[in-house]
Amino acid sequence: MIEQTNPFALVRASDYTDEQINSLWVEIGPSVINAIIEPRSRTSKFILGGKGTGKTHLLRYYSYPVSRLRFPKESGMSILSRDKVLAIFLRATGVDAARFEASSEVTNKWQQLFGVYLELRLIEGVLDALCDIKETSTDEVFDDQAFIAELAKSVVDSAVAECQSIYDFRDWVILERRNIDYAVNNAAFTGSLDLRIPFSIGSLCLPVSRAIGVWNRSLSGLPLIYLIDEIENFSESQQQVVNSLIRYGEGLATFRVTGRLYAIKTHSTLAGGEENREGAEFKTTLLDDILKGHSKYPQFATKFVVNRLASVGLTAKTQKNNPFDPRSCFEEVDSGRYYSVAVESLSFDKNEPGFIKKFLDALVENTKQDISSVEVARGIIADLTKDIPLLLQKLNLLIFCKKYKKKTSNTSLVKKIRSDSLSFIEGNGLGQGTYKTAYGHYAADLFAQLCRESNNELGVPYAGFDTFVKMSSGNPRNLLVILGKAYEIASFKEIDFINGPKLSVAIQTEAALEAARFMYEMDTNYGSRSEQAREVTTRLAELLRAARYALNIPEVSPLAVSFSDADLSTEAKKTLDSALNYSFVYEIGEGRPDRNNQRLNRKIQLNPLLAPRWGLPIAVRGDIGLSKELVNSIFDTQRKGDFNLLLKRLSARWNSPFKNLPTEDVQEVLF
C-alpha cells in the first residue's frame, strides 16, 4: 500500500503552527504582497477573498511572532528594523464575539464592552511582542515608565499608574480581560452585567503607538498594524467598533482586515457616526482579482505543490540542476495532429458519425430549394468531410454553418472550405490564414463535442498540471481540492504517480469531476442564499453547455456571459451577488460602460473549477451576450419556467443554423 498521507489535504492556515506558516510559505513576489498588504501604508485596508485565497496565511506570515521565527537568532529590535513594521495578528473567531451579542440589555452597553475587550486582545498581542523585543534586545534601552505614563493619560485606572514595567502592565491587561470574560460568561446566567470599564474605545490600542515611541526613541514612527482575520465573524454592531478604530486610528495605527467576499456588513462607525469611505478612511483589495491576474501564479502554484509534497516527505524540496516539476506527474491529452490519437480512442462509426446525421437533418430542414433534397445535402457533406480527419470534419461543418448565406448559392463556399482544410492538412496544421485561426479557436470545443457524442465513459477530459492550475483561477485552495482528489483516487487504486508513471487522463478527469462536485455540493452550504446561488449557477452552466455543444457554436470556448447591469432586476442582482460571494461565478473586470448609451456592461464567467460538471471549457474566450429577458430568467430564481423556455428556443436556434428563427434572446454584439 502506498503512502496514505494526502499531501494536498485541505488544511486551514488557522490550524497551522507558526513554524508551518513559515515552512509552507511560498513567495508570490514582493510587488504582489505589497499591493495586497501595503505594510507601510497609513490607510487601513479590507482584504477580501474567496475561501482559500490565502488570507490567513498572508496575515499570519506578517505577524510579529511568525516573523520572529524566521530569524530566531536575531534580536526583536533587529527584526523590527528588518520588517519596518510591527504587525499584530488577531483572529476574529478567537474573540468569541457572539458572547457580546446575546443579551436583553441595551445594545450600546454590549457594543462598548466588545470594543474594550477587542482592544485588550489587541494590546495583549502588542505587549507580548514588546516583552519579546525587550528580552532579546539587551543592548537597547527601554523606558517602561515613560511607556506606562503615556498610556495612563488615556486609561483611567490607578492600577495602571502603579505598574512598574511593561510586564506589570501586561499582567494588568490580562487581568482586565479575564474580568470581562468572567462577567460576560456569568451574564448569560445572571442576566446582568456589572463591570467597570477602565477606558473608552480607542484609548488603548491606538495611543500605544505613541507609547512605543517614548519607550524606545528609535521606534518612534514605526507603523503599528493590527491584522484582524475573518471579520465575517463579527456582527454589524461589532464591525462598527472596528470601523471606529480604523477611523480614530489615523496617524497612530492602521488595520488590515481580511474576510470572505461577503464579510463586510457595514462601513458605519459607533453611535450612528459617519460612514467610513472607500479611498478616504480605508481601501479594499479583492484578493481573487489580484491572484487571478498575477502572471507568476503558475510558478507560485508549482512551488506551492512542491512544498506540500516536501512537507510529507514525498519529494526533495529542491534538487539542484533537476528541480522537481509536478507537470511530470500528469499525463496530458495529446492534441497533436488534430487530436487524432485521442479521437481514435473514441471509436466512432467511421462511415457516418452521429454528428453528420445531425448536420444533415439541419440542412434538409432548410427552406432553400437547392439544398432541401437529401442528395444535394449529402453532396455538400461529402465535400466537407471526405478523407478529412474527424475533428476537421466538424470544423468544416461549423465554418459552413457560420458562413452559410441564405439567399445565394453556397457551392463556392463548400469548395473553399474543402480546399482550405486540405491545405491546412498538407501544411501539417502550420501556416497562416482564417482556417488556422478557426482551428485555434474551436478545436478544443469540437474535441469536447466529439467526446460527448462518442458516449465514451470518460466524457470530456480534464488533465495536465497546467490545466489544473488554470482551473484554480489563482486560488491555491482550488488547486489543492483537485490535486487532493487526484491523490486520493490514485492512492485508492494503489498508483504512485509522484514517483511512478504519470497519472492517467481518466483518473485526472475523475478527480476534476469530484473536485467540482465537492466545491458545488459540499463546500458551500450556507443556507438559502447559497442554495439560490447554486440554482442560478446551474442555469448559467446549462446555457453555456447548450452553446458549447451546439451545431453552430455561438462563441469560442463559452464560459462567460455579458449583459447590461441596468437590465438586472433587484432579485436577479441579489442572487448574482450571492453566486459571486460563494465563488460559483467570477466577475471579469469591473464592467465597462457601453459606447452608445453609457450603461454599465458586466461580464460574468463560471468558476472553471466547476466546468467539468457540465463539460465546459476552463478558459474564457468569447462571451455570450444576454438580453434583458434571458439574464433575468437565469439569475432570478423565480423564473425557472421562463429560463427553460428561452433555453429551448436558443438551443433550437444554435442547432438549426439554416432556418429563420427569432433572434431576440441573445444580444449579438454588446461590447
Binding site: M1, Q4, R452, N455, N456, E457, L458, G459, V460, E488, I489, F492, K493, E494, E510, L513, E514, R517, P612, G615
Partner: protein
C-alpha cells in the same frame, strides 16, 4: 460525460469514502476494479451491470475490525452487564450501594459461561476471543459444550456415565455454574443454530431445569431470532444487537438498501443480474443461503446469507470476490 459515467464516478467516490473512513481500508481499489470487471454483460448490458454492481457495493454494510470490536462491547454492556446489574439492584430493594451491587455482579459473572455456537473454529467461537479481550473478561468464563457438560445416559431409572444407546442427558461439569450464554455473530435463517442447539438444549434442560440459558448475537434476522426464541430453543431469551428485519432483504420490495435509488434504477434488472451470476457461482444459493439477500459482511468472514456475487471465489466459474468468505469445509459429514 454521459449520465452513466456521472453515476459511476459518484459511486466510486462513495465507495472510496466508505473504504477510507468506515471499512478501515480493508478493501482496495484494484480489488474493487477486479470485482466490477466480473460483470461482463451476460445478464444486462455491461455498463448497466457495472453500474448496478457499484451501486450495490456502495450500499453494502461492511463491518471492519474496529466496528466489530465496538459492537462486541455494546453487546456485552447492553445485553448482559446492564440487565444483570439492574436485576441485582432490584433484588436488593433498589439499593444505591454500588460496591455491593458490583460484588454480587462479579459472583454472578463467575457463575456464567459463554459458549460459542458450533465448532471452535467457526466464526461464533472465533469472535468470543475478541469478546473476551474487549470486555476484559477472565478466560475461565469461556468454554464449549463438551467442556461444560458430561454426557450421561439414562437406563431404567439410573443415571450412569455411559456412551451406550439410550436417552442422553447433560450434567454440568461445574456445579457452581448457573448461567450459560450461547454466542454467535449472525443468525440468518436460524436453521444452523437450531439444528446445532435443539438436542443440546433439550439434554441440558432435562436434568437442569433451573439453569439460566440465553443466546446473544451481533446480528439476527427477525425470522431467525423468532425461531431461536421458540419454546424448544431459548424460549424468549435470545437477543441480538442489530436486528435485520424484512427491509434488510436487499431485493425485496421493501428493501432499505435501494430505497432512495436513482431514476434509472430497476429492481427487477438488479435482481436478474445478481441472480443470474449467482446461479452460475452457487446454483443452490444464488441470492444467499436460504434466500438471505443480506448485503452484510465482517472483517473476519462474509456470511453465506449474502449473495455469492460478493464473496464467491470462482470455483465453478472464474470470479474475483470483493469480500472474502472463508467457507466452512464440512468434510463428508456436514
Amino acid at each position: 460525460m454521459n449520465t452513466t459515467t456521472g453515476y459511476k464516478t459518484a459511486y466510486e467516490e462513495r465507495i472510496r469514502t466508505l473504504v477510507n473512513h468506515v471499512w478501515d481500508q480493508e478493501v482496495r481499489g484494484p480489488e474493487v476494479d477486479a470485482w466490477v470487471n466480473n460483470f461482463n454483460g451476460q445478464m444486462l448490458d455491461k455498463d448497466s451491470e457495472q453500474l448496478y454492481a457499484l451501486l450495490s457495493l456502495s450500499r453494502y454494510m461492511y463491518f471492519s475490525k474496529r466496528l466489530v470490536r465496538e459492537m462486541l462491547k455494546s453487546l456485552y454492556r447492553d445485553h448482559f452487564e446492564a440487565p444483570l446489574l439492574q436485576r441485582i439492584r432490584r433484588n436488593l430493594g433498589g439499593t444505591k450501594d454500588s460496591k455491593l451491587i458490583r460484588r454480587i455482579y462479579e459472583q454472578e459473572l463467575s457463575a456464567t459461561r459463554f459458549i460459542g455456537i458450533g465448532n471452535p473454529a467457526e466464526s461464533g467461537a472465533h469472535l468470543l476471543y475478541y469478546f473476551r479481550q474487549v470486555n476484559r473478561l477472565p478466560k475461565k468464563l469461556f468454554i464449549d459444550i463438551a467442556g461444560a457438560f458430561i454426557q450421561t445416559i439414562e437406563c431404567s431409572g439410573e443415571v450412569r456415565n455411559s456412551k451406550k444407546t439410550g436417552e442422553i442427558r447433560y450434567l454440568p461439569k461445574d456445579g457452581s455454574v448457573t448461567r450459560y450464554v450461547f454466542f454467535d455473530d449472525l443468525v440468518g435463517s436460524g436453521n444452523q443454530a437450531s439444528q446445532y442447539l435443539t438436542d443440546h438444549l433439550k439434554r441440558i434442560r432435562q436434568v437442569n431445569k433451573q439453569l439460566d440459558i440465553s443466546f446473544v448475537s451481533l446480528f439476527a434476522t427477525t425470522n431467525g431470532l423468532a425461531k431461536l426464541n421458540g419454546k424448544a430453543l431459548f424460549d424468549g431469551r435470545a437477543m441480538c444487537l442489530f436486528e435485520l428485519d424484512q427491509t434488510y432483504k436487499a431485493y425485496d420490495v421493501s428493501s432499505r438498501y435501494f430505497a432512495n435509488s436513482p431514476p434509472w434504477f430497476d429492481m427487477d434488472e438488479l435482481c436478474k443480474m445478481t441472480k443470474g451470476y449467482g446461479d452460475q457461482l452457487q446454483p443452490t444459493l444464488p441470492l444467499g443461503y436460504e434466500d438471505g439477500q443480506l448485503l452484510l459482511g465482517f472483517t473476519h468472514n462474509t456470511p453465506d446469507n449474502a449473495p455469492p456475487i460478493f464473496w464467491d471465489e470462482g470455483r465453478n466459474t472464474p470470479w474475483a470476490p470483493i469480500f472474502v468468505r472463508y467457507d466452512k469445509n464440512y468434510g463428508s459429514n456436514p
